[in-house]
Symmetry: C2
Subunit: 333 residues, 2 copies
């Protein structure tokens, strides 16, 4: 059973993973770059038996679960960071706090095509990826042990992807993550002071200034944020206030697919298919209609290393200003 442990000073939780445990000697050799052919790829059609059973899929009518015929497939992670079965058993050990690693860890296999890149999927297919994200959150909201559902994508080995077949992940946690609490707290303080949502104010200022604006559609803007940690860090923000991703309408989901695809195509072209992460930032699943918090999506190309200064301070040194990154991404297509 994986274990959640809390840093007693910072209140930061870590997951001590047992399902993906590594022994000390596993770290000695440099990790091998695994090249996996479609024949042996567990995410390819025909190999459905190599993964845990599917939880959700878009598939051709008349085809059976866990057989070919799907265009998108959601499964439990075979090496989950958290397990769905069991009791949470919160307990102490002297001054320390721990609990069992209860939660969900799912994989969204975005396409049956082993070679396909998410950025290049047809828009109609890309929309299904976004629909699937929302479906899974709506389903997991029913589990009273869970507090947060985080949806994210790691693309490329340097961004943490262990398989190259295009996929996203979902991890649902029994506590609200520290980073989410910090964002909520920061946004709440701003609201208390000004009676306005800070993200709404960002949208207003960025739409007016335009110097960090990359593209936009009816529902969203794509910007490089004012204080980015990384070169080419980009954010997608809904134009209208909306606290929860799972409340988005079909039109809003379609527009999100469209602007995220646009963003990924720009980054791919500008930076020669860099590794990247993206993360959906939304409220904890127990909350609804929060006036001070605004759902958004952050995209981080992996171009630099985190070093001692960043670890020690939480400061980031960014060698490329967001105005320059935005201007470059704006004109790349």
């Amino acid at each position: 059973m994986p274990e959640l442990r809390k840093d007693p000073v910072l209140g930061r939780w870590v997951i001590i993973s047992t399902e993906r445990a590594k022994r000390p000697k596993d770290f000695k050799a440099a990790p091998e770059k695994k090249v996996v052919s479609p024949k042996s790829c567990p995410f390819c059609p025909g190999n459905e038996a190599a993964t845990p059973p599917e939880i959700f899929a878009y598939r051709t009518e008349g085809t059976e679960p866990n057989t070919p015929g799907w265009t998108l497939r959601v499964i439990s992670n075979k090496f989950p960071a958290l397990l769905i079965e069991g009791d949470i058993n919160r307990h102490g050990e002297g001054i320390y706090d721990r609990m069992n690693g209860i939660g969900a860890h799912e994989v969204i296999i975005e396409t049956p095509d082993h070679e396909a890149d998410l950025a290049d999927l047809e828009l109609s297919h890309f929309k299904n990826v976004i629909y699937a994200y929302q479906q899974r959150i709506k389903d997991l909201k029913n589990d009273p042990r869970l507090r947060y559902v985080m949806i994210f994508k790691n693309f490329g080995a340097a961004a943490g992807a262990s398989l190259e077949h295009s996929h996203s992940q979902l991890i649902a946690t029994p506590v609200v993550p520290k980073r989410v609490t910090e964002e909520m707290d920061g946004a709440r303080r701003y609201f208390e002071y000004r009676d306005r949502c800070i993200f709404c104010d960002i949208v207003v200022q960025e739409t007016k200034d335009r110097k960090r604006l990359i593209s936009e559609n009816n529902s969203y803007i794509l910007i490089c944020p004012f204080a980015p940690r990384f070169p080419f860090e980009t954010w997608i923000l809904p134009r209208s206030h909306m606290s929860n991703f799972e409340e988005a309408t079909e039109q809003q989901l379609d527009d999100l697919a469209s602007i995220l695809k646009d963003c990924l195509m720009r980054i791919k072209k500008a930076l020669n298919i860099p590794p990247y992460n993206y993360i959906i930032h939304t409220t904890p699943i127990t909350l609804k209609g929060i006036e001070f918090y605004h759902f958004h999506l952050e995209i981080i190309p992996v171009l630099t290393h985190i070093a001692g200064f960043e670890w020690g301070t939480g400061f980031y040194i960014n060698p490329t200003g967001p105005e320059e990154s935005a201007s470059y991404l704006k004109n790349i297509l």
Copy 2:
């Protein structure tokens, strides 16, 4: 002039660096592994003119500054993240906050030997490295514009080192970094609740339990912390309460050199010379004798990638428990 910008939601500062600016096209090619010979290494004796003038050095009596004859040399970083000259000029831009990038960015060249590894330096030499850290903090405390001095080492390209000649760095900032504030706040809350320093309590529990204890001497313990973010993350904690690194006595500095060298030798042997970062965690320079905060040092081998889940949540997934890491490091020498 570099610029400090504040994320309006999280209150996190970033440095938009101009001295080390990168144009968008600089990111297109994979970074080349630079192999630098002693002849062209700016940190090697004989090449002193290739660096900014020295600020501090240990050198043979009778030798001139900025000439050979030194055993340790401190210089300004040639490509500083922050600049020492100028006005801080705090100002706003709509809802955003910014200030000039005032501060210090220094390099501690630990040895004249291009091939030497810090872990293998003679203990007497290693002590000079620690003495130099303390000297530089004591000096920079006199600059009223500065709030914090962070000392850290990046070893290996994956840990952010751009030159292989053994060196550490110092960055002094005009604001207290967010991560430091968070640590101070967490430790203060614990003190308010229990009237004890949390780090002192960690020392008591770890010294009694011993299952995460790697080694110890008169002044310090070396442990894997209860909730480590990374495999083989280790911390050095003073046994007795001490809030500021710069208040350490000569005996305490000697003992720190001894246990840090011991730690680096263990990590080097256990993990086949991995990249790593270490960071001295101490109080802001404007504070002294704080009863709730306890200086310490964190050592992080770079063995895993930070991915979307970590960025989004502030959670870390660690595949190796600290008890196992500690047991392995304890028995490796």
